[in-house]
Structures are given as structure tokens and as C-alpha cells.
Symmetry: C2
Subunit: 393 residues, 2 copies
Amino acid sequence: MDQLKISGYLDKFEHELFESVLPFWETHSPDFENGGFYNCLDRQGKVYDTRKHVWLQGRQTWMFSKLYRNVERNPNWLKLAKNGADFLLNKTLTENDRVYFAVNEQGKGLWMQRKIFSECFWIMALAEYSRASGDKSYLQHTERLFKKVWEWSKDLSKVGQPTYEGAEPLVQLAIPMILLNLIEEVAGANFSEFETQINECIDRVMLHVHPARQLVFEQVAPNGEFVNNMDGRLLNPGHASEAGWFLQHWAGHTKNAELSKTAINMVRWSHDKGWDDEYGGLYYFLDSEGHSPTQLEWNMKLWWPHTEAMYAHLLNYSITKDESDFKKFEQVVDYSFTHFSDAEYGEWFGYLSREGKRTHHFKGGPYKGCFHVPRALYLCWQLLSKLESDPQL
Amino acid sequence: MDQLKISGYLDKFEHELFESVLPFWETHSPDFENGGFYNCLDRQGKVYDTRKHVWLQGRQTWMFSKLYRNVERNPNWLKLAKNGADFLLNKTLTENDRVYFAVNEQGKGLWMQRKIFSECFWIMALAEYSRASGDKSYLQHTERLFKKVWEWSKDLSKVGQPTYEGAEPLVQLAIPMILLNLIEEVAGANFSEFETQINECIDRVMLHVHPARQLVFEQVAPNGEFVNNMDGRLLNPGHASEAGWFLQHWAGHTKNAELSKTAINMVRWSHDKGWDDEYGGLYYFLDSEGHSPTQLEWNMKLWWPHTEAMYAHLLNYSITKDESDFKKFEQVVDYSFTHFSDAEYGEWFGYLSREGKRTHHFKGGPYKGCFHVPRALYLCWQLLSKLESDPQL
């Protein structure tokens, strides 16, 4: 590998993260009056809806806490993180320990999902903010909530998800995967006390990994078998790449070489299966048997599968030193910076047609906020620094 | 108007309905073993998922009952309708008078929506089948169910829709609109006994019609005021055109000239607002203030807004005799037959990109079945016959 290339990417990512992406959110998102962040921001950063989506409130709080702790003691980052953490703590948690999916500008409940993800991002945010600020009072609910989320994750009827007699039981990749990431964030270096949960989550993720077909299924039977219906056939290449790098982190923490190999493969297969050779970019959804996915947006190119794949390929390369992994990284970076990045107003666009034409102008919406783009840029920037200073890493 | 033109369209619609669309469903959808219809059918008519979506079970049952009653005493149509009616009656209704959204192949519950539409299409189907077959036993639950649906329509918490403190109360166009269509189907000529409900539904639809802006909003405040957030700004031109022809039918039944004018305008405005001048076709969603709708599929071209607009424009023309209405009809017909119709395997494709490229190959899916295409073709065919035989109609 040409070290100049690594340095070039390092500069590119540093500039994108610190000069384009973070300033967008620092400037446009804070609502210091009501607390929290506006996350429905148009191309220029203007608020087009004042509601606040709690996944994104949590993720942005986590992001600025992380940057403060790991990059620079920038008081504005801590101020932003505190603004998010206080809003999460005071406004978004209900008496039953459920966390809203969306609240209004003032923080009053707007919508509750029958899922556990709001709670996961809530815990992740407060754990990281507590570390960044040194203020342990932000942990007052996290341990209790984690225990509940863990229990709910095995029986979603506890968050109101109904079950019906005719439905084949399916388990979802998203749940053990998000829990693995959550544990990594919450536990930090003290992960040994979570050993049981970590191993269980890894086992649960592995049910979705089918090496014989080189596929990672979003939903499988509880014993891991393929289910031949529209849910069972669903692939989400970006999600599988993200699961890959989550697992790779755990393979690193636990020094598990077998797991590392599997994680490398998950990312490679997802690229091979998910890349659109005609127009470039990763498909959002695919059907493993070649049917049309029933999701209307299946062939769109979304920002987040690309940010996740970008970091996953670089992480693969840092382990394998295989030029083909670096090439995949470059391919995703090239597509993403060309299509998503907005040099004029900062941050990235989120949604493109299959052909790569922008379909939505906003920078933030119900599912897009200050998270996937800065997280991937930050993780890549960190890893590129290491690769630059120690090519043998 | 050149009468040859009318005759040409009459032939075109007759051929499309009876030679292409109906044979597709007659051949591929029936499940005489388990009852009901397979509605997840790929381009060729092969079943790609055995689940059965109850909106579509009801709508297909209604369609074949209607055709049997109004077009031809074709015993196969009655057999198909009975197959659907029995499945609906025996499998899809719960003890609490809720109707599933989806059931499995054998009719066991798969999913229940917190909405009233499954119930509406269930009632519509059994009412029409009862008339077609002359068997009143199929009405054993419809009256009771209609009363409940009417009550639920004013308080969706009764079907499990939660309300939250921070949510601005909004009312939905879909509800009074579907109820109006339901009453038309259930009441037939005896609509006078539904006078109160009809007037109330018309009033409820009118809240969404804003003549000053020439817009029909999907969701408004309970007093009809515009709400400036992503829900309140949402436009759905095909839906508004459909609401237009529903109202126009009631204007006809009740001889209400004022209502007729409004209905004409709703259809015209929706065309003006919703037509994509660059690539043709009607947008699925728009934001009234020009923001990007947050729905990922907003710029796609779906079959059903086109089928509804097609009939709505022809109906306008039959009343106004204004060539501009006929031109709009022709514009929609031209786009639809060129882009959606499948001469090779019958029926219509359902989903196109903004540019008009086919994104999904299937003919039936969770929301597309034997309904919008044959209903619109049937209604247009009927109206074209009248226009052919009596140009002064």
C-alpha cells in the first residue's frame, strides 16, 4: 500500500468530519431553549419540522460526548452533549421505562414504537455523556434500563408487539446487533462483566450468517433456518456490513480469530451481493431469491449503508492487508463523496435513486441525524491515523 | 368530441379489462384448497409469498361480485367471489369484530392494523357478494360491523391507536373518504337511510379541501385548518382524485350541484399539482410547501393514483363536456397504458421510478391486488359506453 494514499484519505476524512459535517450540526441543530436538537433540517440547515426523533437525540448526544472524550476537550461539544443528555433524561423517558420514538419541540410524547431501539440509543447516549462529563448522575437509570431492554429483546410483547397464531416466528438481526454495539459502548474496557450477554448476542447474530450461501439474512427462524417468504428472504447489505464491523470489534476485544474471519466475510459478501454494478452504490434491500422486494425503496441508495460499508472495508483492510479490501473501501468512498457529500452547505444528503440522482434534499429527517456520517468518518479517521503511523498495524 | 375517439377508448378498455387484467387474476390467484386468493403474484402470476392480505381479499371478492351482478352472469366470477366471501367470513374476522390485515395461507392471523380499512373492505365485499349471490346469510355480520367501524372511525383508540400528549390532533382524509365509498357500496339505491352518515362524511372530507390554495390535504386539524408540519403538508394527488370521484358520485346521487363543482375541482387541482412535467406521471406524495416529503417513495409513480385519476377525469368530462378534462384523461391513459400495462402476461405493473422505469416486477403484493386496475377499467368502460351511445349524457 502506498502510504501517500493513506495520508490522502486521512486528510480527506479529517476535512469532511471537522470542516463540513460537524459544523452543520453544531450550527443548525441545537435548541437551547427547549433542550435537545432539531433533527429535521433541510439542505441549508433550516428547521422544516420541529419534532424531535429520539433515536437521533440519543445518537447525537453520544457522538458529541465521544468526540469530546476521544478527540478534543472542545467545550462546545460538551455543551451540546449536555443539552442532549438533559433533554433525554428529563423529557423522553416514561414512567414505565419506555423511551419515546419522537417528541414534540418541548419534549412531550409524540410517538412510541413497539421496539427497543429508542431505549438502546438513550442508554448509549447517557453512558457516554456520563463518561465525557464525569458526572455519574446521568447513569441513574441506565443500568435498570439496560436490564429491561435485555429482557424485552427476548420477548417483544413486553413492548407491545402483538403475536399472531399464523405468523411464523422470526428473529431479527437488528436486535442482537444493536445490543452488541450498545454493550461495547456501555461497558468500555470492563466488558468481562457482560460476557454472558456478549456471547449470547454473538450467537444470535450468527444465526443470520449463512456461509454456504454467503448471505446474511435480516430475519431467520429461531433456529437460524432460512424462511422462504418475503421477510425471510430480505437482505440489507449495509446492515450486514454494519453487523460485520460490530462483530469485528468484539473479535478484537475477545481475541477471537474465528469470529474475525466470519466478520471479514460478512462485509465482503455484502459488498459482492449488494453493489449495483450498473449504477454504483449499495442497494438498500434485496430478496435473496431474486424476487422484487416489496419495500418500495429497495433500489434506492441511502447514505448509511455506505458509511457503514466504508468503515467495515477499511477495518477489514487493517486486519487482512488485502488490497481487494482497500479497493472496496475506495469504491464506497468514491461513490459516497461524489454522491452524498454536500460541499456547499455541509453534511451529506441521505437519499438517492438507484441511478444516483438525489431524491430528497434534507440533511436530517426522522431517521437521519448527526450519527452515521460523523461516526463513520470519525472511525475511519482514527483507523487511517493508525495505518499512517504504523503501516504494519 | 369525436365519437370515434370515444369508441376507440371503449375498445381499448374493454380489451384491457376482459382480455388482460381479469384473466390474470382468474388464472393465478384462486386458492380453492385453503380458500381466498393468493395476492402476492409475480409478473407471470407465480406465487412468491403465500400470505394473504385481507384488504385485497375483500376487494377482489367485491370486484368479481360486482362484475357478476353488473356485467355478465359468468359462473366462474360467482365461484371466485364465493371463494373470497367464504374465506373472509370464516377466517379473517376475530371475536372482537376486528378483521386481520394479513393472514397466512390457511387463514390464520398474521397481522392486525390499528386502522379500520380491513373492516371496510370486508363489509364491502360481503355486501356485494350477498347481492350477487342472493344469499342474505353473508350479511349476518355486516350491519353490526358497519356500526362499529362508524364508531371507531371517530375514535381510533378503539382499534388500538395510541394518542400522545405532544401530538397535534389531526384528522385523515382516508377515513371519511373510504366510508363514503363503503356507504355507496353497502347502501346501493337505499341510501336515504344513511343520510346522516353521508352528510357527515362529506363534511369531514370537505375539511381537507382548501379552495384558496387549490389543494386537498391528507391531514388537517379537526377544524380543517392547515397544520404546518410534515404530516399536515402532505399531499397525495391520486388519493385526492379518488376522493374527488367518490364525492362526485354522491353529488350525483343527491343532486348536489355545488358538491359536484367542488369534486370537479379537486380532480383538476390534483392533476395540476401532481403531474410531473419532466417525466410524466403523477407523483405519489408531495409537500405543499415544497419541502422534500420524508416518505422515501414520494417521487415514484404508482399504478393506483393513475387508475383513480383516469376515471376521475373521464367522469369530470362526462359532466363538464370540457375538452380539457378529456385531455387530462387521455394524458393519464397514455402514460398508464405505456408504463404499467403488461401485454405479455396481463395485468399492470405497480411501481415505477420517477423517470418511469419499472422498479418492481410483481403484479400483486401487500397493497396491490385485483382492485384498482379492474375497478377503474370497469368504471371507465361503463362510462365510455354511455358516452358512446349518448354523447349528450
